[in-house]
């Protein structure tokens, strides 16, 4: 299991979930592409971090890391002054998708822990409103 394969699991599932919405919402990954321009445009930014890579495991070889802990933060951006419904719907889509990652997909699964949020940040000078959710996870594979 590599960090790339964990990223791939989150990115594929969340992109599929947000593509299925009407209208569909683009998902921006870490260091891949820029956020769409225009304050009226919605988008979702997915941030994954791995603060703790070394966990005790039972393994024959040192190279086979089987458990990786990480943090996922999903930021849902939308136009300001249009109410919270759409933004909270986006956050709910993200939360329900994260909960499906427990089921094994190819060789990896990610157990997402308690989800914090949705936290809304609408009082900033960012032209978009933001609702964010976050959770820790344990990836096994």
């Amino acid at each position: 299991m590599s960090l790339q394969s964990i990223r791939s699991l989150f990115e594929r599932k969340l992109t599929a979930a947000f593509s299925g919405l009407s209208p569909s919402v683009p998902v921006v990954y870490d260091n891949v592409k820029k956020a769409p321009s225009g304050a009226a445009k919605e988008y979702v930014s997915l941030i994954l971090s791995f603060p703790s890579l070394t966990e005790p495991i039972i393994s024959n070889t040192e190279s086979s890391i089987e458990v990786i802990r990480g943090i996922v933060q999903v930021n849902c951006y939308g136009p300001k002054s249009k109410g919270m419904k759409r933004l909270e719907d986006l956050a709910a889509t993200a939360a329900s998708t994260l909960n499906t990652l427990k089921a094994e997909d190819s060789t990896i699964r990610a157990s997402v822990g308690e989800i914090s949020g949705p936290v809304n940040i609408v009082n900033s000078d960012n032209p978009r409103a933001l609702v964010t959710i976050s959770a820790s996870f344990v990836a096994k594979g």
Binding site: I47, P51, I71, Q73, N75, V119, N126, A135
Partner: protein
């Protein structure tokens, strides 16, 4: 070990674990915080049973001076700012039998904590706050276990 000796030792271990956890988390937040003048990074305060709502003053340090070519533009830095970082030490005893808050009450702290647009250049990465907040349970568990192991 007699039970009468064991109980105070456990209390002492729990107090130590809680004190380590609060102090280290406060400094971890200050270090990971994005810094310009250092006002926000210096405004993480520890409160017992209720949040300490104090903040550092607006003239905490000298911000960078910018020259703007036109209104609405980013501006060019003509004189760099001064970053001043001071973590306020909690002076009283930290014990396990209280609720502890580490808070930051600046009006912009929430957006810097959650919105990556405002967290550019943060030493702890764009998700610096969530990364620390989400590790709290694991960190305190580890600290309690380590302290309890020391009881002979």
């Amino acid at each position: 070990m007699a039970l009468k000796n064991w109980v105070p030792n456990v209390k002492k271990a729990l107090n130590q674990a809680m004190a380590d956890h609060i102090v280290l988390t406060q400094s971890k937040l200050a270090q990971a915080n994005p810094k310009d003048t250092g006002r926000m990074a210096s405004s993480w305060f520890v409160g017992k049973d209720k949040p300490d709502l104090s903040v550092r003053p607006p003239d905490w340090s000298t911000p960078a001076k910018r020259k703007y070519a036109a209104k609405g533009t980013k501006g060019e830095i003509v004189q760099p700012g001064v970053t001043k970082l001071e973590v306020k030490e909690y002076r009283n005893k930290i014990t396990f039998d209280a609720d502890w808050y580490i808070s930051n009450n600046l009006p912009y702290s929430q957006r810097v904590a959650y919105d990556p647009i405002y967290a550019k250049g943060a030493p702890g990465g764009v998700a610096w706050f969530v990364t620390i907040a989400k590790q709290q349970k694991k960190d305190i568990k580890k600290r309690i276990t380590n302290q309890l192991r020391k009881i002979k």
